[in-house]
Symmetry: C2
Subunit: 383 residues, 2 copies
């Protein structure tokens, strides 16, 4: 047991500020049996739906073989599928090899000067800053449940006068949500910021009404030259292995990025996914599993509230940030969950801006959520 947890510690060390992937764990610690990957933020029902189509249209037809053999289409051609689904003008979409490629492209190319990053955050946003960019942190208040105080944020940004601001909505790792009206207010008031990056990678899990309607700001910002919306498809569609993402920005910026790069950055299966994404038959069924997953996640978060010695922070994403209380340590709790129960969660010790002991736990299928609940209940008991 100790040797497993030691091997995991080493693997984590070489993975830096991100968690080792399931593949890497399987490869390096084959004796470890993972039952539930609650580190991984994705909708398992959407994965099932994608795989159903993939099996029928790619495997059963042997089409998969051509898709692997031949060159995929160029960036602009794949962008057409996204434009069709989002019902927007051609030229606003930059297709990327996972949202992280868009983060890299945008920050490397446009973030020169100060960049305001809200803490806690997804670490790539500050890690990808180049020497020409100075990261300034705006830290969310734990005592305010990591809720963004929009007016205070706007005032702070006005004082800092940055070139770039980054807002992940819902935020990772706490799941805090900023309403569409508030986002619009931020964009209006901070109109002079050259790059307003809104990361909507978890927006499919957020809602403002009982019908769980999606609340993306994409259509509101097409005319704002300074707004860039970044979107991962890995979480909502449960397809991290495909590396699919896109960013919505002005046509000039898309042209600028494509002028000398990013020509063939999608693989053949990613291209198939984007085609699928543009199809109504697929999207209608996706909407059903999206809402089913939100429903079950809400129930899971409610059940977590009953466990002693932990605090659950409010989330509109598909994960919750959990603070460990009464002397429980994140490293110990996550190691026990992994080694004793095969439940893989995110130890947040390396997350800057978090003061205390925190883990992040993803919602999975209702069956897996029960396993997580039971395991967490066990390891957080204090005798």
């Amino acid at each position: 047991m100790n040797s497993i947890s030691e091997k995991y510690r080493l693997l984590k060390e070489i993975s830096g500020s991100h968690s080792p992937s399931l593949n890497s764990i399987k490869e390096k610690i084959p004796e470890l049996k993972i039952n539930v990957d609650a580190c991984f933020l994705s909708n398992p029902y959407a994965t099932e739906l994608f795989l159903e189509y993939f099996k029928r249209e790619m495997l059963d037809t042997n089409e998969i073989y051509s898709v692997l053999e031949f060159y995929p289409s160029q960036n602009k051609i794949i962008a057409n599928y996204v434009e069709k689904q989002l019902n927007i003008d051609s030229g606003h979409i930059f297709i990327c090899n996972g949202a992280i490629e868009a983060i890299q492209a945008v920050i490397h190319r446009y973030s020169k000067g100060k960049m305001v990053v809200i803490l806690p955050t997804f670490s790539s946003y500050y890690e990808y800053a180049t020497n020409e960019c100075e990261v300034v942190y705006y830290t969310l208040d734990k005592t305010n449940n990591f809720k963004l105080d929009v007016d205070d944020y706007i005032e702070s940004v006005k004082k800092i006068r940055p070139n770039t601001i980054v807002l992940i909505n819902p935020n990772n790792p706490d799941g805090g949500y900023v309403s569409q009206n508030e986002i619009n207010k931020i964009i209006e008031e901070l109109y002079w910021v050259e790059n307003i990056i809104i990361d909507e990678s978890f927006i499919h899990f957020a809602y403002e009404d009982d019908d769980f309607t999606m609340k993306s700001i994409v259509s509101n910002v097409l005319k704002k030259e300074n707004v860039i919306v970044i979107k991962s498809m890995s979480k909502d569609f449960g397809i991290a292995g495909l590396r699919c993402g896109y960013a919505v920005m002005s046509k000039e910026r898309v042209e600028d990025l494509l002028r000398n790069g990013y020509l063939w950055n999608s693989n053949g299966i990613a291209e198939y996914f984007f085609q699928l994404y543009s199809r109504n038959d697929f999207f209608e069924r996706y909407e059903i599993v999206r809402k089913k997953y939100i429903n079950e996640s809400k129930l899971f978060f409610d059940n977590l509230l009953r466990i002693d010695n932990i605090k659950i922070y409010p989330s509109r994403a598909n994960f919750v940030l959990i603070e460990l209380l009464n002397g429980l340590l994140a490293e110990e709790v996550s190691a026990k969950l992994l080694c004793d129960f095969g439940v893989y969660v995110r130890n947040c010790n390396d997350k800057i801006g978090l003061n205390g002991e925190f883990i992040r736990v993803a919602a999975r299928s209702s069956h897996e959520n029960k396993i997580i609940l039971k395991a967490l209940e066990d390891v957080t008991q204090i005798n």
Copy 2:
């Protein structure tokens, strides 16, 4: 027929200086039946070999589903597989989403000042130059069969005093080969050039002896801080849809590139391929199909020599550059090949540095080579 060729012309127009992919053609011109894709530079026997493993290890086991659902490993972990196969120290490998990502990364980051590019060439090398980089061309002589005159090249580079030189070996689109001794001479004499980029994407098809031994310079240049070897896996392994490539460079440069980028730039199937690539059972079988393909390609090139009204330039790659003589036009010949015979070849009209009418034709399986031969014989007849 005219409408097909018109549709193709439009598709080509939006594809810029590259050919439309087979996927794009299928999507936009469904009525067009392509029998042989001789635009696409890859070893079909290697594709078959990969797909055999892929079917057994990914499809039959259902492992494919996990590979698509979960995050692939990080760059450095996948690099270990390549290091193992190349038998080199850890830290020299930069994994990329197709070789074109390495071209972009290296040129954007390191090519500041003059860059000498040999013409004709793969267009991305000059297209990816940024504003900080001035491209200077060194044009190969058609009357010398596009053979690089190494001494003249070295003298020219000494006069130009560039920051970067690019050498594709064998060269694309002519297939001209520079021997390992000559490459070493270039590297020795031009030791002061900050970035010597050697693109070995077609090196698996080149040979200097009757046994077709591979002649990569990777092991000779590990201690040269200024040499960067770029390698596509799409051609030799026949897996363009996977987007697999790597670059070999100094550990400092790999660290520098990974410091704020390129973290998760491989998809799950690309990771599987790199694992396979590191395995001896796979590699031994690959060597057999590599040599079989070289043998058949040689035969194909010899047979092409018998066709009238064209000139075949000597090639050690898996394609030949063909000059059309006696008034034949590249646009007409390639359109006829496509529309009348379903044979897709590369019309080289957009290749700079080519003075005349040229098409590039890839070697395929021996069966497909016969179809190409017959079609080409037909469309180059002059009545």
